[in-house]
Symmetry: C2
Subunit: 260 residues, 2 copies
DNA sequence: TAGTGGTCTAGACCACCGT
DNA sequence: CGGTGGTCTAGACCACTAA
Protein backbone atom coordinates (compact mmCIF):
# COMPACT_ATOMS: atom_id res chain seq x y z
CA UNK A 1 0.00 0.00 0.00
CA UNK A 2 1.23 3.47 -0.75
CA UNK A 3 1.65 5.61 2.32
CA UNK A 4 0.01 8.82 1.10
CA UNK A 5 -2.87 6.92 -0.43
CA UNK A 6 -5.87 9.28 -0.64
CA UNK A 7 -8.36 6.46 -0.29
CA UNK A 8 -8.07 5.10 3.22
CA UNK A 9 -9.51 8.01 5.14
CA UNK A 10 -12.65 8.03 3.07
CA UNK A 11 -13.09 4.31 3.47
CA UNK A 12 -13.18 4.62 7.22
CA UNK A 13 -15.55 7.56 7.13
CA UNK A 14 -17.98 5.49 5.14
CA UNK A 15 -18.02 2.69 7.65
CA UNK A 16 -18.27 5.00 10.65
CA UNK A 17 -21.86 6.16 9.95
CA UNK A 18 -21.08 9.63 11.23
CA UNK A 19 -24.11 11.61 10.09
CA UNK A 20 -27.73 10.72 9.50
CA UNK A 21 -27.75 8.56 6.38
CA UNK A 22 -25.97 10.99 4.06
CA UNK A 23 -22.87 9.54 2.37
CA UNK A 24 -23.47 5.90 3.44
CA UNK A 25 -20.27 4.20 2.24
CA UNK A 26 -18.45 5.00 -0.96
CA UNK A 27 -16.65 2.11 -2.65
CA UNK A 28 -13.02 2.59 -3.60
CA UNK A 29 -13.72 2.32 -7.32
CA UNK A 30 -16.22 5.18 -7.06
CA UNK A 31 -13.54 7.36 -5.54
CA UNK A 32 -11.14 6.36 -8.33
CA UNK A 33 -13.87 7.23 -10.79
CA UNK A 34 -14.08 10.66 -9.21
CA UNK A 35 -10.33 11.17 -9.49
CA UNK A 36 -10.36 10.13 -13.13
CA UNK A 37 -13.28 12.45 -13.87
CA UNK A 38 -11.35 15.25 -12.21
CA UNK A 39 -8.41 14.55 -14.50
CA UNK A 40 -10.68 14.68 -17.52
CA UNK A 41 -12.36 17.89 -16.45
CA UNK A 42 -9.07 19.60 -15.63
CA UNK A 43 -7.66 18.69 -19.01
CA UNK A 44 -4.86 16.51 -17.65
CA UNK A 45 -5.86 14.10 -20.42
CA UNK A 46 -7.37 15.71 -23.49
CA UNK A 47 -9.99 14.37 -25.93
CA UNK A 48 -8.51 11.79 -28.28
CA UNK A 49 -5.47 11.18 -26.10
CA UNK A 50 -4.79 8.00 -24.13
CA UNK A 51 -4.98 7.97 -20.35
CA UNK A 52 -2.32 6.02 -18.42
CA UNK A 53 -2.53 2.23 -18.50
CA UNK A 54 -4.51 0.42 -15.84
CA UNK A 55 -1.32 -0.77 -14.18
CA UNK A 56 0.05 2.77 -13.99
CA UNK A 57 -3.20 4.12 -12.58
CA UNK A 58 -3.34 1.32 -10.02
CA UNK A 59 0.17 2.22 -8.87
CA UNK A 60 -0.59 5.93 -8.79
CA UNK A 61 -3.71 5.55 -6.69
CA UNK A 62 -2.44 2.67 -4.57
CA UNK A 63 -5.20 0.23 -5.46
CA UNK A 64 -5.37 -3.01 -7.41
CA UNK A 65 -5.74 -3.14 -11.17
CA UNK A 66 -9.19 -4.68 -10.76
CA UNK A 67 -10.42 -1.65 -8.87
CA UNK A 68 -9.11 0.75 -11.53
CA UNK A 69 -10.70 -1.52 -14.10
CA UNK A 70 -14.14 -1.21 -12.56
CA UNK A 71 -13.86 2.59 -12.44
CA UNK A 72 -12.75 2.76 -16.07
CA UNK A 73 -15.49 0.33 -17.08
CA UNK A 74 -18.14 2.67 -15.75
CA UNK A 75 -16.61 5.75 -17.37
CA UNK A 76 -16.48 3.85 -20.65
CA UNK A 77 -20.14 2.88 -20.24
CA UNK A 78 -20.91 6.58 -19.77
CA UNK A 79 -19.06 7.39 -23.00
CA UNK A 80 -16.39 9.46 -21.27
CA UNK A 81 -13.65 6.99 -22.15
CA UNK A 82 -13.15 4.55 -25.00
CA UNK A 83 -11.35 1.27 -24.45
CA UNK A 84 -9.30 -0.17 -27.31
CA UNK A 85 -7.88 -3.62 -26.71
CA UNK A 86 -4.16 -3.83 -27.27
CA UNK A 87 -3.82 -0.04 -27.57
CA UNK A 88 -5.06 1.61 -24.42
CA UNK A 89 -7.91 3.68 -23.03
CA UNK A 90 -8.67 7.01 -24.69
CA UNK A 91 -10.59 10.15 -23.81
CA UNK A 92 -13.76 10.21 -25.91
CA UNK A 93 -14.03 12.91 -28.56
CA UNK A 94 -16.71 14.29 -30.88
CA UNK A 95 -14.23 14.26 -33.77
CA UNK A 96 -14.26 10.58 -34.61
CA UNK A 97 -16.79 9.37 -37.18
CA UNK A 98 -18.17 6.76 -34.79
CA UNK A 99 -19.27 9.31 -32.20
CA UNK A 100 -19.73 12.24 -34.52
CA UNK A 101 -23.48 12.70 -34.54
CA UNK A 102 -24.16 10.73 -31.43
CA UNK A 103 -26.92 13.08 -30.26
CA UNK A 104 -28.73 13.45 -33.60
CA UNK A 105 -31.44 10.81 -33.67
CA UNK A 106 -32.89 11.68 -37.07
CA UNK A 107 -32.79 8.91 -39.70
CA UNK A 108 -33.99 8.79 -43.29
CA UNK A 109 -37.13 6.68 -43.73
CA UNK A 110 -35.50 4.69 -46.50
CA UNK A 111 -31.91 3.55 -46.30
CA UNK A 112 -30.05 3.12 -43.05
CA UNK A 113 -27.16 5.49 -43.71
CA UNK A 114 -27.73 9.11 -42.67
CA UNK A 115 -26.47 10.28 -46.08
CA UNK A 116 -24.53 13.43 -46.92
CA UNK A 117 -25.29 16.24 -44.49
CA UNK A 118 -24.71 19.96 -44.82
CA UNK A 119 -24.94 22.68 -42.19
CA UNK A 120 -25.66 26.31 -43.09
CA UNK A 121 -25.32 29.05 -40.48
CA UNK A 122 -28.23 31.47 -40.84
CA UNK A 123 -27.36 33.76 -37.95
CA UNK A 124 -25.06 34.09 -34.97
CA UNK A 125 -25.61 36.91 -32.54
CA UNK A 126 -25.06 37.80 -28.91
CA UNK A 127 -27.79 39.05 -26.58
CA UNK A 128 -29.02 38.94 -23.02
CA UNK A 129 -30.48 35.68 -21.76
CA UNK A 130 -34.28 35.47 -21.54
CA UNK A 131 -35.66 34.00 -18.33
CA UNK A 132 -36.24 30.46 -19.58
CA UNK A 133 -32.83 30.14 -21.22
CA UNK A 134 -31.11 31.65 -18.20
CA UNK A 135 -32.77 29.19 -15.87
CA UNK A 136 -31.93 26.23 -18.08
CA UNK A 137 -28.27 27.27 -18.33
CA UNK A 138 -28.09 28.29 -14.66
CA UNK A 139 -27.25 31.89 -15.55
CA UNK A 140 -28.72 35.07 -14.19
CA UNK A 141 -31.40 36.65 -16.38
CA UNK A 142 -29.74 39.18 -18.64
CA UNK A 143 -26.32 37.55 -18.71
CA UNK A 144 -24.75 37.37 -22.14
CA UNK A 145 -25.58 34.44 -24.38
CA UNK A 146 -24.84 33.43 -27.97
CA UNK A 147 -27.68 32.43 -30.25
CA UNK A 148 -27.02 30.47 -33.40
CA UNK A 149 -29.64 29.68 -36.00
CA UNK A 150 -28.65 27.09 -38.54
CA UNK A 151 -30.20 24.85 -41.15
CA UNK A 152 -29.28 21.21 -41.54
CA UNK A 153 -29.80 19.57 -44.91
CA UNK A 154 -29.79 15.86 -45.65
CA UNK A 155 -29.03 14.98 -49.21
CA UNK A 156 -29.60 18.56 -50.33
CA UNK A 157 -33.03 18.85 -48.69
CA UNK A 158 -33.52 21.08 -45.63
CA UNK A 159 -34.65 18.98 -42.68
CA UNK A 160 -33.67 20.59 -39.37
CA UNK A 161 -33.92 24.20 -38.29
CA UNK A 162 -31.95 24.70 -35.08
CA UNK A 163 -31.79 27.51 -32.58
CA UNK A 164 -28.79 27.08 -30.28
CA UNK A 165 -28.21 28.99 -27.03
CA UNK A 166 -24.82 29.04 -25.33
CA UNK A 167 -23.37 30.89 -22.32
CA UNK A 168 -21.60 33.95 -23.73
CA UNK A 169 -18.74 33.95 -21.25
CA UNK A 170 -17.75 30.43 -22.06
CA UNK A 171 -17.95 30.90 -25.82
CA UNK A 172 -16.08 34.17 -26.13
CA UNK A 173 -14.97 34.71 -29.71
CA UNK A 174 -17.54 32.44 -31.28
CA UNK A 175 -19.06 34.02 -34.37
CA UNK A 176 -20.64 33.21 -37.72
CA UNK A 177 -17.30 33.22 -39.55
CA UNK A 178 -15.71 30.65 -37.28
CA UNK A 179 -18.81 28.49 -37.40
CA UNK A 180 -18.95 28.73 -41.16
CA UNK A 181 -15.26 27.97 -41.61
CA UNK A 182 -15.36 24.87 -39.45
CA UNK A 183 -15.78 21.49 -41.08
CA UNK A 184 -17.40 18.69 -39.13
CA UNK A 185 -19.76 18.55 -36.18
CA UNK A 186 -20.38 21.60 -34.04
CA UNK A 187 -19.63 19.68 -30.85
CA UNK A 188 -16.18 19.01 -32.26
CA UNK A 189 -15.61 22.75 -32.57
CA UNK A 190 -16.87 23.34 -29.04
CA UNK A 191 -14.53 20.67 -27.76
CA UNK A 192 -11.41 21.85 -29.58
CA UNK A 193 -11.85 25.61 -29.44
CA UNK A 194 -13.85 26.23 -26.31
CA UNK A 195 -12.83 23.41 -23.99
CA UNK A 196 -16.41 22.35 -23.63
CA UNK A 197 -17.19 18.68 -24.06
CA UNK A 198 -20.82 17.61 -24.27
CA UNK A 199 -21.25 14.46 -22.22
CA UNK A 200 -24.95 13.78 -22.21
CA UNK A 201 -28.19 15.48 -23.12
CA UNK A 202 -31.91 15.26 -22.43
CA UNK A 203 -34.60 16.04 -24.96
CA UNK A 204 -38.29 16.91 -24.84
CA UNK A 205 -40.26 16.24 -28.00
CA UNK A 206 -43.54 17.77 -29.15
CA UNK A 207 -45.51 18.06 -32.37
CA UNK A 208 -46.15 21.63 -33.48
CA UNK A 209 -47.33 23.45 -36.60
CA UNK A 210 -44.77 25.25 -38.75
CA UNK A 211 -44.83 29.02 -38.41
CA UNK A 212 -44.22 31.25 -41.44
CA UNK A 213 -40.45 31.50 -41.02
CA UNK A 214 -39.88 27.82 -40.31
CA UNK A 215 -42.14 26.79 -43.16
CA UNK A 216 -40.27 28.94 -45.62
CA UNK A 217 -36.84 27.86 -44.38
CA UNK A 218 -37.70 24.18 -44.39
CA UNK A 219 -39.60 24.38 -47.66
CA UNK A 220 -42.93 23.13 -46.33
CA UNK A 221 -46.44 24.62 -46.20
CA UNK A 222 -47.28 26.78 -43.20
CA UNK A 223 -48.88 24.79 -40.35
CA UNK A 224 -47.23 21.57 -41.52
CA UNK A 225 -46.74 19.35 -38.46
CA UNK A 226 -43.11 19.44 -37.32
CA UNK A 227 -41.22 17.72 -34.56
CA UNK A 228 -40.06 20.22 -31.94
CA UNK A 229 -37.00 18.92 -30.11
CA UNK A 230 -35.82 20.83 -27.05
CA UNK A 231 -32.42 19.68 -25.93
CA UNK A 232 -30.32 20.56 -22.91
CA UNK A 233 -26.72 19.36 -23.16
CA UNK A 234 -24.51 18.79 -20.14
CA UNK A 235 -20.78 18.68 -19.60
CA UNK A 236 -18.82 17.21 -16.68
CA UNK A 237 -20.63 17.13 -13.35
CA UNK A 238 -24.00 17.62 -15.02
CA UNK A 239 -23.42 21.29 -15.73
CA UNK A 240 -25.83 22.47 -18.49
CA UNK A 241 -24.05 24.36 -21.27
CA UNK A 242 -26.38 24.34 -24.23
CA UNK A 243 -30.06 24.78 -24.96
CA UNK A 244 -31.09 23.74 -28.43
CA UNK A 245 -34.51 24.03 -29.99
CA UNK A 246 -34.82 22.12 -33.25
CA UNK A 247 -37.69 21.89 -35.71
CA UNK A 248 -37.45 18.59 -37.55
CA UNK A 249 -39.28 17.99 -40.80
CA UNK A 250 -40.49 14.39 -40.60
CA UNK A 251 -41.78 14.01 -44.15
CA UNK A 252 -38.92 11.77 -45.26
CA UNK A 253 -37.17 11.28 -41.92
CA UNK A 254 -37.99 10.13 -38.42
CA UNK A 255 -36.62 10.40 -34.93
CA UNK A 256 -35.27 7.04 -33.89
CA UNK A 257 -35.16 5.79 -30.33
CA UNK A 258 -34.17 2.57 -28.61
CA UNK A 259 -35.98 1.63 -25.41
CA UNK A 260 -33.99 -0.72 -23.23
CA UNK B 1 -13.81 -28.32 -12.29
CA UNK B 2 -16.95 -30.33 -12.95
CA UNK B 3 -16.40 -33.25 -15.27
CA UNK B 4 -19.32 -32.73 -17.62
CA UNK B 5 -18.69 -29.02 -17.80
CA UNK B 6 -20.28 -27.71 -21.03
CA UNK B 7 -17.77 -24.90 -21.34
CA UNK B 8 -14.46 -26.45 -22.21
CA UNK B 9 -15.19 -27.64 -25.73
CA UNK B 10 -16.32 -24.19 -26.83
CA UNK B 11 -13.30 -22.57 -25.29
CA UNK B 12 -10.96 -24.66 -27.35
CA UNK B 13 -12.95 -24.12 -30.51
CA UNK B 14 -12.55 -20.39 -30.07
CA UNK B 15 -8.79 -20.60 -29.74
CA UNK B 16 -8.41 -23.01 -32.63
CA UNK B 17 -9.47 -20.52 -35.34
CA UNK B 18 -11.18 -23.25 -37.32
CA UNK B 19 -13.16 -21.25 -39.88
CA UNK B 20 -12.60 -17.91 -41.57
CA UNK B 21 -13.20 -15.29 -38.88
CA UNK B 22 -16.70 -16.38 -37.88
CA UNK B 23 -17.05 -17.08 -34.13
CA UNK B 24 -13.70 -15.56 -33.12
CA UNK B 25 -13.48 -16.58 -29.45
CA UNK B 26 -16.38 -16.52 -27.06
CA UNK B 27 -15.55 -15.71 -23.43
CA UNK B 28 -16.81 -18.04 -20.75
CA UNK B 29 -19.09 -15.44 -19.21
CA UNK B 30 -20.80 -14.95 -22.57
CA UNK B 31 -21.58 -18.64 -22.68
CA UNK B 32 -22.91 -18.48 -19.13
CA UNK B 33 -25.02 -15.53 -20.20
CA UNK B 34 -26.43 -17.66 -22.98
CA UNK B 35 -27.28 -20.47 -20.57
CA UNK B 36 -28.98 -18.05 -18.21
CA UNK B 37 -30.96 -16.49 -21.05
CA UNK B 38 -32.04 -19.97 -22.10
CA UNK B 39 -33.30 -20.61 -18.58
CA UNK B 40 -35.26 -17.37 -18.67
CA UNK B 41 -36.77 -18.06 -22.06
CA UNK B 42 -37.70 -21.63 -21.18
CA UNK B 43 -39.45 -20.49 -18.02
CA UNK B 44 -37.15 -22.32 -15.64
CA UNK B 45 -37.16 -19.10 -13.65
CA UNK B 46 -40.31 -17.01 -13.99
CA UNK B 47 -40.79 -13.23 -13.79
CA UNK B 48 -40.60 -11.97 -10.24
CA UNK B 49 -38.90 -15.12 -8.94
CA UNK B 50 -35.30 -15.35 -7.76
CA UNK B 51 -32.70 -17.21 -9.78
CA UNK B 52 -30.17 -19.38 -7.89
CA UNK B 53 -27.44 -17.59 -5.95
CA UNK B 54 -24.17 -16.80 -7.66
CA UNK B 55 -22.41 -19.53 -5.71
CA UNK B 56 -24.98 -22.11 -6.78
CA UNK B 57 -24.77 -21.06 -10.41
CA UNK B 58 -20.98 -21.16 -10.28
CA UNK B 59 -21.13 -24.73 -8.98
CA UNK B 60 -23.73 -25.77 -11.51
CA UNK B 61 -21.79 -24.45 -14.49
CA UNK B 62 -18.36 -25.30 -13.14
CA UNK B 63 -16.96 -21.77 -13.24
CA UNK B 64 -15.89 -19.25 -10.63
CA UNK B 65 -18.30 -16.91 -8.92
CA UNK B 66 -16.64 -13.97 -10.65
CA UNK B 67 -17.49 -15.35 -14.05
CA UNK B 68 -21.14 -15.87 -13.12
CA UNK B 69 -21.10 -12.39 -11.68
CA UNK B 70 -20.02 -10.83 -14.95
CA UNK B 71 -22.73 -12.69 -16.86
CA UNK B 72 -25.40 -11.64 -14.38
CA UNK B 73 -24.09 -8.06 -14.42
CA UNK B 74 -24.71 -7.82 -18.15
CA UNK B 75 -28.16 -9.36 -17.95
CA UNK B 76 -29.01 -6.90 -15.19
CA UNK B 77 -27.74 -4.03 -17.35
CA UNK B 78 -30.08 -5.26 -20.10
CA UNK B 79 -32.99 -5.24 -17.64
CA UNK B 80 -33.55 -8.98 -17.83
CA UNK B 81 -32.55 -9.48 -14.21
CA UNK B 82 -32.71 -7.29 -11.12
CA UNK B 83 -30.09 -7.54 -8.40
CA UNK B 84 -31.10 -6.90 -4.81
CA UNK B 85 -28.31 -6.84 -2.30
CA UNK B 86 -28.83 -9.17 0.61
CA UNK B 87 -31.82 -10.83 -1.05
CA UNK B 88 -30.80 -12.32 -4.37
CA UNK B 89 -31.15 -11.84 -8.10
CA UNK B 90 -34.66 -11.79 -9.58
CA UNK B 91 -36.20 -12.15 -12.99
CA UNK B 92 -37.44 -8.74 -14.11
CA UNK B 93 -41.17 -8.26 -14.41
CA UNK B 94 -43.55 -5.63 -15.78
CA UNK B 95 -45.67 -5.89 -12.65
CA UNK B 96 -43.52 -3.89 -10.26
CA UNK B 97 -44.19 -0.16 -10.00
CA UNK B 98 -40.57 0.66 -10.75
CA UNK B 99 -40.57 -0.98 -14.17
CA UNK B 100 -44.27 -0.63 -14.86
CA UNK B 101 -44.36 1.95 -17.61
CA UNK B 102 -40.76 1.59 -18.61
CA UNK B 103 -41.48 2.01 -22.31
CA UNK B 104 -43.88 4.97 -22.03
CA UNK B 105 -41.80 8.10 -22.41
CA UNK B 106 -44.59 10.63 -22.13
CA UNK B 107 -44.35 13.09 -19.24
CA UNK B 108 -46.58 15.96 -18.13
CA UNK B 109 -45.09 19.38 -18.90
CA UNK B 110 -45.60 20.47 -15.31
CA UNK B 111 -44.88 18.18 -12.39
CA UNK B 112 -42.53 15.25 -12.57
CA UNK B 113 -44.94 12.49 -11.57
CA UNK B 114 -46.90 10.89 -14.42
CA UNK B 115 -50.10 11.30 -12.42
CA UNK B 116 -53.15 9.01 -12.39
CA UNK B 117 -53.52 7.10 -15.65
CA UNK B 118 -56.54 5.31 -17.10
CA UNK B 119 -56.74 2.94 -20.06
CA UNK B 120 -59.95 2.44 -22.03
CA UNK B 121 -60.23 -0.35 -24.60
CA UNK B 122 -62.05 0.96 -27.66
CA UNK B 123 -61.84 -2.14 -29.77
CA UNK B 124 -60.24 -5.58 -29.94
CA UNK B 125 -60.65 -7.66 -33.05
CA UNK B 126 -58.90 -10.37 -34.99
CA UNK B 127 -58.06 -10.13 -38.68
CA UNK B 128 -55.49 -11.08 -41.29
CA UNK B 129 -52.13 -9.33 -41.16
CA UNK B 130 -51.56 -6.57 -43.71
CA UNK B 131 -48.20 -6.66 -45.50
CA UNK B 132 -46.39 -4.09 -43.36
CA UNK B 133 -47.52 -5.58 -40.05
CA UNK B 134 -46.72 -9.10 -41.24
CA UNK B 135 -43.23 -8.10 -42.22
CA UNK B 136 -42.59 -6.29 -38.96
CA UNK B 137 -43.79 -9.28 -36.91
CA UNK B 138 -42.10 -11.80 -39.20
CA UNK B 139 -45.40 -13.44 -40.09
CA UNK B 140 -46.73 -14.40 -43.50
CA UNK B 141 -49.15 -11.94 -45.04
CA UNK B 142 -52.66 -12.98 -44.12
CA UNK B 143 -51.75 -14.78 -40.90
CA UNK B 144 -54.06 -14.03 -38.00
CA UNK B 145 -53.35 -11.00 -35.84
CA UNK B 146 -55.07 -9.20 -32.99
CA UNK B 147 -55.67 -5.47 -33.19
CA UNK B 148 -56.39 -3.45 -30.10
CA UNK B 149 -57.38 0.18 -30.11
CA UNK B 150 -57.24 1.90 -26.78
CA UNK B 151 -57.24 5.34 -25.29
CA UNK B 152 -54.89 6.40 -22.51
CA UNK B 153 -55.92 9.28 -20.27
CA UNK B 154 -53.69 11.18 -17.89
CA UNK B 155 -55.51 12.89 -15.09
CA UNK B 156 -58.85 12.43 -16.83
CA UNK B 157 -57.72 13.95 -20.12
CA UNK B 158 -57.25 11.76 -23.22
CA UNK B 159 -53.63 11.87 -24.35
CA UNK B 160 -52.65 8.72 -26.24
CA UNK B 161 -54.57 6.83 -28.90
CA UNK B 162 -52.90 3.46 -29.48
CA UNK B 163 -53.32 0.83 -32.15
CA UNK B 164 -51.66 -2.42 -31.07
CA UNK B 165 -50.94 -5.37 -33.36
CA UNK B 166 -50.06 -8.80 -31.96
CA UNK B 167 -49.51 -12.24 -33.52
CA UNK B 168 -52.84 -14.07 -33.24
CA UNK B 169 -51.37 -17.50 -32.58
CA UNK B 170 -49.40 -16.31 -29.62
CA UNK B 171 -52.26 -14.37 -28.09
CA UNK B 172 -55.02 -16.94 -28.42
CA UNK B 173 -57.90 -16.07 -26.15
CA UNK B 174 -57.10 -12.39 -25.86
CA UNK B 175 -60.24 -10.27 -26.17
CA UNK B 176 -61.77 -7.00 -25.08
CA UNK B 177 -63.25 -8.47 -21.91
CA UNK B 178 -59.96 -9.79 -20.62
CA UNK B 179 -58.25 -6.54 -21.49
CA UNK B 180 -60.96 -4.53 -19.78
CA UNK B 181 -60.95 -6.68 -16.66
CA UNK B 182 -57.19 -6.46 -16.17
CA UNK B 183 -55.79 -3.86 -13.83
CA UNK B 184 -52.29 -2.55 -14.43
CA UNK B 185 -50.05 -2.32 -17.44
CA UNK B 186 -50.79 -4.31 -20.58
CA UNK B 187 -47.28 -5.77 -20.67
CA UNK B 188 -47.99 -7.26 -17.26
CA UNK B 189 -51.00 -9.07 -18.72
CA UNK B 190 -48.96 -10.28 -21.69
CA UNK B 191 -46.30 -11.57 -19.33
CA UNK B 192 -48.62 -13.39 -16.92
CA UNK B 193 -51.26 -14.70 -19.29
CA UNK B 194 -49.46 -15.17 -22.59
CA UNK B 195 -45.90 -15.99 -21.55
CA UNK B 196 -44.60 -13.10 -23.58
CA UNK B 197 -42.14 -10.77 -21.91
CA UNK B 198 -41.22 -7.54 -23.70
CA UNK B 199 -37.49 -7.02 -23.34
CA UNK B 200 -36.72 -4.03 -25.48
CA UNK B 201 -38.35 -1.86 -28.13
CA UNK B 202 -37.45 0.59 -30.85
CA UNK B 203 -39.52 3.61 -31.78
CA UNK B 204 -39.82 5.87 -34.80
CA UNK B 205 -41.32 9.30 -34.16
CA UNK B 206 -42.96 11.68 -36.59
CA UNK B 207 -45.19 14.75 -36.43
CA UNK B 208 -48.52 14.33 -38.21
CA UNK B 209 -51.88 16.09 -38.39
CA UNK B 210 -54.84 14.62 -36.52
CA UNK B 211 -57.39 12.91 -38.77
CA UNK B 212 -61.10 13.17 -37.98
CA UNK B 213 -61.28 10.06 -35.80
CA UNK B 214 -58.14 10.80 -33.81
CA UNK B 215 -59.16 14.42 -33.34
CA UNK B 216 -62.53 13.43 -31.97
CA UNK B 217 -61.14 10.71 -29.71
CA UNK B 218 -58.39 12.89 -28.31
CA UNK B 219 -60.59 15.95 -28.04
CA UNK B 220 -58.53 18.20 -30.29
CA UNK B 221 -59.27 20.11 -33.49
CA UNK B 222 -58.77 18.22 -36.75
CA UNK B 223 -55.29 18.70 -38.23
CA UNK B 224 -53.83 19.44 -34.81
CA UNK B 225 -50.15 18.36 -34.84
CA UNK B 226 -49.73 15.05 -33.02
CA UNK B 227 -46.75 12.89 -32.24
CA UNK B 228 -46.91 9.60 -34.14
CA UNK B 229 -44.93 6.92 -32.32
CA UNK B 230 -44.37 3.62 -34.11
CA UNK B 231 -43.01 1.00 -31.78
CA UNK B 232 -41.79 -2.53 -32.37
CA UNK B 233 -41.33 -4.54 -29.18
CA UNK B 234 -39.05 -7.54 -28.92
CA UNK B 235 -38.89 -10.52 -26.62
CA UNK B 236 -35.98 -12.91 -26.00
CA UNK B 237 -33.54 -13.33 -28.87
CA UNK B 238 -34.79 -10.17 -30.55
CA UNK B 239 -37.99 -11.72 -31.75
CA UNK B 240 -40.55 -8.98 -32.61
CA UNK B 241 -43.94 -9.61 -31.00
CA UNK B 242 -45.75 -6.28 -31.08
CA UNK B 243 -46.29 -3.38 -33.40
CA UNK B 244 -47.78 -0.33 -31.78
CA UNK B 245 -48.81 2.91 -33.44
CA UNK B 246 -49.56 5.66 -30.97
CA UNK B 247 -50.84 9.18 -31.51
CA UNK B 248 -49.68 11.36 -28.64
CA UNK B 249 -51.30 14.70 -27.89
CA UNK B 250 -48.43 16.97 -26.88
CA UNK B 251 -50.43 19.96 -25.75
CA UNK B 252 -49.75 19.40 -22.08
CA UNK B 253 -47.26 16.53 -22.32
CA UNK B 254 -44.00 15.75 -24.04
CA UNK B 255 -41.95 12.75 -25.05
CA UNK B 256 -38.85 12.59 -22.88
CA UNK B 257 -35.55 11.13 -23.95
CA UNK B 258 -32.10 10.82 -22.44
CA UNK B 259 -29.12 10.84 -24.78
CA UNK B 260 -26.07 9.19 -23.30
C1' DT C 1 -27.04 -15.31 12.51
C1' DA C 2 -26.94 -17.21 7.99
C1' DG C 3 -27.17 -16.16 3.32
C1' DT C 4 -27.14 -12.92 -0.38
C1' DG C 5 -24.92 -9.66 -3.40
C1' DG C 6 -20.91 -6.00 -3.40
C1' DT C 7 -16.03 -4.83 -3.04
C1' DC C 8 -11.13 -5.63 -3.26
C1' DT C 9 -6.99 -8.14 -3.96
C1' DA C 10 -3.19 -10.84 -6.29
C1' DG C 11 -1.91 -13.44 -9.77
C1' DA C 12 -2.21 -16.17 -14.04
C1' DC C 13 -3.05 -16.39 -18.69
C1' DC C 14 -5.19 -14.87 -23.24
C1' DA C 15 -6.32 -11.74 -27.28
C1' DC C 16 -5.00 -7.89 -29.67
C1' DC C 17 -2.00 -4.17 -31.40
C1' DG C 18 2.00 -1.93 -32.94
C1' DT C 19 6.93 -2.30 -33.89
C1' DC D 1 8.33 -8.92 -29.24
C1' DG D 2 6.48 -5.97 -25.31
C1' DG D 3 2.61 -3.55 -23.74
C1' DT D 4 -2.26 -2.92 -23.60
C1' DG D 5 -6.82 -4.30 -22.32
C1' DG D 6 -9.80 -8.79 -21.55
C1' DT D 7 -10.80 -13.04 -19.06
C1' DC D 8 -10.74 -16.16 -15.18
C1' DT D 9 -9.69 -17.78 -10.69
C1' DA D 10 -9.58 -18.16 -5.48
C1' DG D 11 -10.14 -16.15 -1.47
C1' DA D 12 -10.99 -12.47 1.98
C1' DC D 13 -13.93 -9.29 3.82
C1' DC D 14 -17.98 -5.90 3.87
C1' DA D 15 -22.98 -4.34 3.45
C1' DC D 16 -27.55 -5.59 3.41
C1' DT D 17 -31.74 -8.42 4.36
C1' DA D 18 -34.63 -11.57 6.59
C1' DA D 19 -35.67 -14.76 10.03
Amino acid sequence: MCSNCPMQSDRDAGAATETLETPRFSPLYQQIKGLLTRGLKSGEWRPGEPIPSEIELAARYGVSQGTVRKAVDELAAENLLVRRQGRGTFVATHHEPRTQFRFLRLRPDHGAAPGPMASRILECKRLRAPVDIARALRLRTGEGVVVIRRLLSFDGKPVVLDEIWLPGAQFRGLNADRLGAYEGPMYGLFESEFDTRMIRASEKLRAVGADAVAAKTLGVAPATPLLLVERISYTYEDRPVEVRRGLYSTREHHYFNELA
